[in-house]
C-alpha cells in the first residue's frame, strides 16, 4: 500500500465516524467535550452553526451518527449523541448575543425562499449575515415546514420549535406566510437574484384498494393527517385505528392516534419486522405505548358495511429470498386476517410535487417529475433556481435538509458574487497537537466503560392523555455528564511521523485493541490479514506509513482505535502524537474569500 495521505482533508474526517456520517458534518466529539465541561452554550453554538436546529434535532434527528459511532463497534451501544445535543439545548443560557450580526446595509441582492422548512431557513441563516435581503414564502401561516406539521408535539414541544425558528426569522427575514404560490413564473417576475425551493415532499401516498371510495372519509394519509392534528384541525379519531406502513411517519401516526381517542391502535406492515424503515428507537417507543405491530400482512381491501368502514382484510405472507437475492413475499395460504377498524391511516410514503412550477421556465424535470439538479450545487437547469431538502431528491430527514441548505447557500452566494459555483470551497480544517505534558493531554482520554444511559421518560399515564406532554424528559445533568464520558474523542487523531520512529514496539504493546502492526508492506487485502488482530472492516481505512529503517511499515487499523492516546504516551520519540482534527464544512460566509 502507498503511505496514507493525511493531507487529504477527508482522511482524518472519515476517522470521526459520527461527523463523517452526519449530512451536515457537525463536529460531534467537540461539542460532547464542551458538554462534559458544562459549557452548554458553547456546545449549543457549535451545533447551531452546523445544524441550525440543535434543540429540534436533539429530539427528532434520524441520527445517522449513532449507527456510525465507533463505540458501537467496541461494545454494544453507540454514544447517545442525539440526546446529548438536546442536553446542550436544554441547559444553555441566552444565545441571542451570539447570533451573527446582520448588516444594516444590504448587499443589494434579493433572494426568495419558497417553503419555510429546515432547508430554506438554513439558507436564510447563512445568507442574512452577508447582507442579503431574504423573502420567505410559506403556504401555512407559520414557519417550520415538516418540523411543525409532521412531528407530533409529544416528541417536539412547540416552545422548542418556535424558539429555534425565531432565531432565524428574527435575523430579519421578510415573511410572506399564508401565501400559497400557484405560479413560479409570477415569483420569478418579482425579480429575485436567486430563488431557493424547499417545499418538501408534501404529497402522501394512498393505498387504493377495493372499498376505498366508500370509506374515503375514514382513510387518511399519514402526513396530511399529522399536519391536521398539528394545526388542531383534527382533534379526534375513531377507537379502532389501523396504521399502514413501517416508517417513522407510521410510528408518529399510531402514537398520535393513541392520544386523541384511539384505543385499539395497531401498526400493520407488509414485510418483516426487521425490514421496517422506522428508526429502532421510534419502534421501541411505539411498542412501549402498547401498540402492536403486525408484520407479514399484505392489505387487500377495506371492508365497508352500511357505508361505514368497519375493518380491513389482510393476506398473510412469509418472506423468501430468491436465487437473485431478491426478497419475495409468498402467501402462506392461511385464512385472511380481518382487523376491525374505524379509521385507517396510510403512512406508506410521500412524494414531492411541483404543479405550481410551469414547465416552460427552463427548470427541467425528469420522467418522475423530480427536478434535474446538480448534486453538489443544488442548482437546477435554471441558473438562478436552486432546490433543497425533500424537494430536491425526495423524502429524507431534517438534518439532510439542513445540509442541502448550507450547500445551496454557498452556491447562491458564489453565484451572486459572480464566481463559478462548481468550484466548491475547501472545508475549514485544523490539526493541532493536544500534548500538555509527558502524560497529559488536553482531552480526557480516560474513557468510561459504562453502558449507554437511557433517557428517562415521563409517566405513560400522563403522556398518553395529553398530546402536548413530551414523552422524553431528556438527560438530567448527571446522566448527561456520565454519557459524555463514553465518547471516544475520535477527532483526536493518532498522527504518525515515520522519520521519528525507532521501531521499539511500545505502541504495539500498549494498544488495547491491537490496532498497530509493524510488518512488511503488501497489498491492502493481504495487509488487513497480516495485522496483529485482523482488520476485517473494509469500510474503515488502514493508516500506512512510509518505509521505516528495517524496511517494514507501520499499519494502523482505524476501525477500533479508542483514541486513548496510550500509543503516543508510550512513544519515546513522539513519532505518535495526538492531534485534534477540527473539520467544518465551508458555509456561505467562507466561500468567497479569495
Amino acid at each position: 500500500m502507498k503511505p496514507t495521505n493525511t493531507d487529504d482533508p477527508s482522511y482524518f474526517h472519515k476517522v470521526v465516524d459520527c461527523q463523517w456520517a452526519c449530512p451536515a458534518h457537525t463536529p460531534v466529539p467537540e461539542y460532547i467535550r464542551l458538554i462534559a465541561e458544562k459549557r452548554y452554550t458553547d456546545a449549543y453554538m457549535i451545533n447551531w452553526h452546523s445544524n441550525v436546529f440543535p434543540g429540534i434535532l436533539g429530539r427528532t434527528c434520524d441520527r445517522p451518527c449513532e449507527p456510525a459511532c465507533r463505540r458501537g463497534r467496541i461494545e454494544e451501544q453507540p454514544v447517545a449523541i442525539c440526546r446529548l445535543k438536546r442536553v446542550a439545548a436544554d441547559y444553555k443560557s441566552d444565545i441571542r448575543d451570539r447570533i451573527p450580526e446582520v448588516p444594516k446595509k444590504k448587499n443589494g441582492k434579493h433572494i426568495a425562499l419558497i417553503g419555510a422548512g429546515p432547508a430554506a431557513l438554513t439558507v436564510a441563516r447563512d445568507l442574512l449575515p452577508l447582507g442579503y435581503e431574504i423573502t420567505l414564502f410559506e403556504r401555512d401561516a407559520v414557519s417550520g415546514g415538516a418540523m411543525r406539521t409532521q412531528i407530533p408535539r409529544f416528541r417536539l414541544p412547540i416552545e422548542v420549535l418556535n424558539e429555534e425558528l425565531n432565531y432565524v426569522l428574527d435575523m430579519g427575514v421578510n415573511c410572506r406566510f399564508g401565501e400559497e404560490i400557484t405560479s413560479m413564473k409570477s415569483v420569478m417576475s418579482e425579480g429575485y437574484d436567486a430563488i431557493f425551493i424547499g417545499t418538501g415532499a408534501p404529497l402522501g401516498k394512498w393505498l387504493d384498494l377495493p372499498g376505498h371510495s366508500d370509506a374515503a372519509d375514514n382513510i387518511h394519509t399519514g402526513i396530511e393527517w399529522l399536519a391536521n392534528v398539528a394545526f388542531e384541525h383534527v382533534t379526534s379519531i375513531g377507537k379502532k385505528v389501523i396504521v399502514l406502513g413501517g416508517g417513522n411517519t407510521a410510528m408518529d401516526c399510531c402514537r398520535t392516534s393513541k392520544r386523541i381517542g384511539g384505543k385499539d391502535v395497531s401498526v400493520v406492515v407488509r414485510s418483516g419486522f426487521d425490514d421496517m424503515k422506522a428508526s429502532p428507537w421510534e419502534i421501541e417507543d411505539a411498542i412501549a405505548e402498547d401498540i402492536p405491530i403486525l408484520n407479514f400482512h399484505v392489505p387487500k381491501r377495506y371492508i365497508v358495511e352500511n357505508g361505514k368502514l368497519v375493518a380491513m382484510e389482510f393476506e398473510k405472507v412469509r418472506k423468501e429470498v430468491d436465487e437473485n437475492g431478491r426478497r419475495q413475499l409468498i402467501p402462506t395460504g392461511e385464512e385472511p386476517a380481518i382487523i376491525p377498524c374505524d379509521d385507517v391511516i396510510c403512512a406508506i410514503g410521500q412524494e414531492n410535487s411541483f404543479p405550481w412550477i410551469e414547465r416552460d421556465l427552463g427548470i427541467e424535470f425528469d420522467k418522475w417529475e423530480v427536478p434535474v439538479l446538480n448534486k453538489a450545487t443544488y442548482q437546477s437547469t435554471h441558473e438562478n433556481v436552486f432546490f433543497g431538502g425533500d424537494a430536491a431528491f425526495g423524502p429524507d430527514n431534517i438534518i439532510t435538509a439542513v445540509a442541502h441548505g448550507h450547500d445551496a447557500a454557498v452556491s447562491i452566494h458564489m453565484s451572486c458574487e459572480g464566481q463559478d459555483i462548481n468550484r466548491r470551497p475547501d472545508p475549514l480544517t485544523n490539526l493541532s497537537s493536544q500534548k500538555m505534558g509527558i502524560h497529559q493531554w488536553s482531552y480526557d482520554n480516560d474513557i468510561s466503560a459504562d453502558f449507554r444511559f437511557a433517557v428517562p421518560h415521563a409517566d405513560k399515564e400522563q403522556t398518553l392523555n395529553d398530546i402536548n406532554v413530551e414523552v422524553e424528559l431528556g438527560f438530567d445533568e448527571q446522566l448527561a455528564l456520565n454519557e459524555t464520558q463514553r465518547c471516544l474523542n475520535c477527532d483526536v487523531q493518532t498522527v504518525f511521523t515515520d522519520k521519528l520512529c525507532i521501531e521499539c514496539d511500545a505502541c504495539v504493546d500498549i494498544c488495547p485493541t491491537d490496532c498497530i502492526t509493524f510488518t512488511q508492506n503488501s497489498e491492502e487485502s493481504e495487509l488487513r490479514l497480516d495485522m496483529l488482530s485482523p482488520a476485517e472492516n473494509t469500510e474503515q481505512d488502514l493508516y500506512v506509513s512510509g518505509t521505516l529503517t528495517t524496511g517494514r511499515i507501520m499499519a494502523k487499523n482505524e476501525d477500533l482505535c479508542l483514541h486513548c492516546g496510550l500509543c503516543a504516551e508510550r512513544c519515546p520519540t513522539n513519532a505518535w502524537d495526538m492531534h485534534k482534527y477540527l473539520f467544518n464544512t465551508a458555509k456561505a460566509q467562507d466561500s468567497c474569500q479569495s
Binding site: 467496541i74 511500545a506 504495539v508 504493546d509 488495547p512 485493541t513 508510550r570 519515546p572
Partner: protein, 351 residues
C-alpha cells in the same frame, strides 16, 4: 508511566485460547517503565507466548531480582505467582521454589546488572544446577535504574549516553550459560517478537535450564548511535543463526520445509520446534560449534541470535537428585515422618 489505566475494551475478534482466555487475560498492571523500553516488549512477548500456549496463569511462578528488568513481572500474568527478591538473588529463590514445587512453570526475570554483576555467582550456580525453568535476562548494557552507567554486558568500545566508553570486554551470559551446562540457550531482541515469542514458548516447554539473553534497549540511557545495545545497532547487526517455529503438542504439523535447511526437535512433552538454519554449517546441537559461531560473529561486531544451543539429553535438578515424584510441598505428615518402623528399616541398612 501513565495517568490512565489501559482500557479494558479489546478487539472484538480477539481469539480465545483452549482454556477460554484471550491475550488480554494474561496482562499485568500498566507498565511504569519509560515509554519505548525494550523490557515492555519482553512482557508483551511473554503474554503472547503464554496465551498462545494456553498456559494456566496460576500454574506459573515469576521470580525476579532488582532493577528495571526485575520490575516487569508486575506487567504480565497478574494471575500468576510472583516473588520479587533481593538484588542478584533471584536464582536462589527460584531454586528453592522449584525444589519445593516442581510442578509449576518458573519464569525468572533478571537484568544485566542483576545477573552479570551482583548476581553473577548466583547465575553460574543455577545454570550448573540445571534448575528446570526459563531464565530471561533483559539485557540493555546499562544500569538504567541508577541513570545510565555502563554495565558488565556493555561491549568493549560501546559508549553511554554521556559519552563514557566501555574499556572492558563484556560478559556474554549466553556463552557463559553454554559453558556451564545450560541445555537451552537462545539470544533474541525485544524489537523482534516474531523471533522472541517462539523462543519463549520453546524455553518454557524445554525440560531443564533454559536461558534467553534478550537485547532490550534502554531507550532513555543507552540508545545512541554509539551504543551497541541500542535499537539501531541491534536492528542492523543481529544475525539470525537459526529461526525457530514452535508447534505445541496438540497441533498437527502442517508446514514443510526445504530439505537440509530445516531440523525438527521434539521436546519432552511432544511439542516440536522447527529450526531453520540460516548459516550454512551451524549446528545448535554442538556446543563447540555454537560457541565458535557466536564468537566469530562477535568479532565482526555482529550479534548472533536465535536458538544458539540445545541439548535434550541432560537431566534436570530433580532427576539428578532423584527426588520423589510428588512435589515436596504436597507431601503429607505421614510421608515426611513415616514413623519408628521406617526409621528402623533405614537404620538397619547401615548396620
Amino acid at each position: 508511566m501513565s495517568y490512565i489505566n489501559k482500557p479494558k475494551f479489546k478487539h472484538p475478534q480477539l481469539q480465545t485460547n483452549d482454556i477460554g482466555l484471550t491475550r488480554r487475560d494474561y496482562e499485568g498492571t500498566l507498565t511504569t517503565l519509560c515509554g519505548g523500553c525494550g523490557h515492555d516488549s519482553i512482557s508483551a512477548a511473554i503474554i503472547q507466548a503464554s496465551a498462545e500456549m494456553s498456559l494456566e496463569p496460576h500454574r506459573i511462578a515469576k521470580i525476579s531480582g532488582i532493577g528495571c528488568s526485575s520490575k516487569i513481572p508486575s506487567y504480565f500474568l497478574s494471575k500468576a505467582h510472583g516473588f520479587n527478591s533481593v538484588h542478584g538473588r533471584m536464582p536462589s529463590v527460584a531454586t528453592g521454589a522449584n525444589i519445593a514445587n516442581k510442578e509449576l512453570s518458573y519464569i525468572g526475570i533478571s537484568g544485566d546488572g542483576d545477573s552479570a554483576s551482583i548476581g553473577l555467582g548466583q547465575f553460574c550456580h543455577i545454570v550448573r544446577r540445571r534448575v528446570n525453568m526459563l531464565y530471561i535476562v533483559a539485557n540493555n548494557g546499562t544500569y538504567g535504574l541508577t541513570k545510565g552507567q555502563l554495565s558488565a554486558t556493555a561491549d568493549l568500545g560501546s559508549r553511554t549516553k554521556s559519552g563514557e566508553e566501555s574499556l572492558f570486554d563484556n560478559i556474554d551470559l549466553a556463552t557463559l550459560a553454554i559453558e556451564l551446562g545450560a541445555s537451552f540457550v537462545a539470544r533474541s531482541f525485544s524489537g523482534d517478537k516474531k523471533q522472541l515469542v517462539p523462543l519463549i514458548q520453546a524455553g518454557l516447554t524445554h525440560k531443564g535450564f533454559a536461558f534467553i539473553d534478550v537485547v532490550s534497549p534502554c531507550v532513555t540511557f543507552n540508545n545512541t548511535d554509539l551504543s551497541t545495545h541500542g535499537y539501531k545497532n541491534t536492528w542492523e547487526n543481529h544475525i539470525v543463526l537459526s529461526e525457530v517455529d514452535f508447534v505445541p503438542m496438540r497441533e498437527e504439523i502442517t508446514t514443510s520445509y526445504a530439505p537440509g535447511k530445516e531440523k525438527e526437535i521434539t521436546l519432552h512433552d511432544g511439542s516440536v520446534i522447527h529450526l531453520h538454519k540460516t548459516g550454512s554449517n551451524y549446528d545448535p546441537m554442538d556446543k563447540e560449534n555454537a560457541l565458535h559461531h557466536i564468537n566469530a560473529y562477535k568479532k565482526q561486531g555482529k550479534i548472533a541470535t536465535g536458538l544458539l544451543y540445545i541439548n535434550q539429553t541432560t537431566s534436570d535438578l530433580h532427576e539428578l537428585q532423584d527426588t520423589v515424584d510428588k512435589p515436596f510441598n504436597s507431601l503429607g505428615c505421614h510421608e515426611l515422618c513415616p514413623g519408628d518402623e521406617a526409621l528402623g528399616d533405614i537404620n538397619n541398612t547401615f548396620r
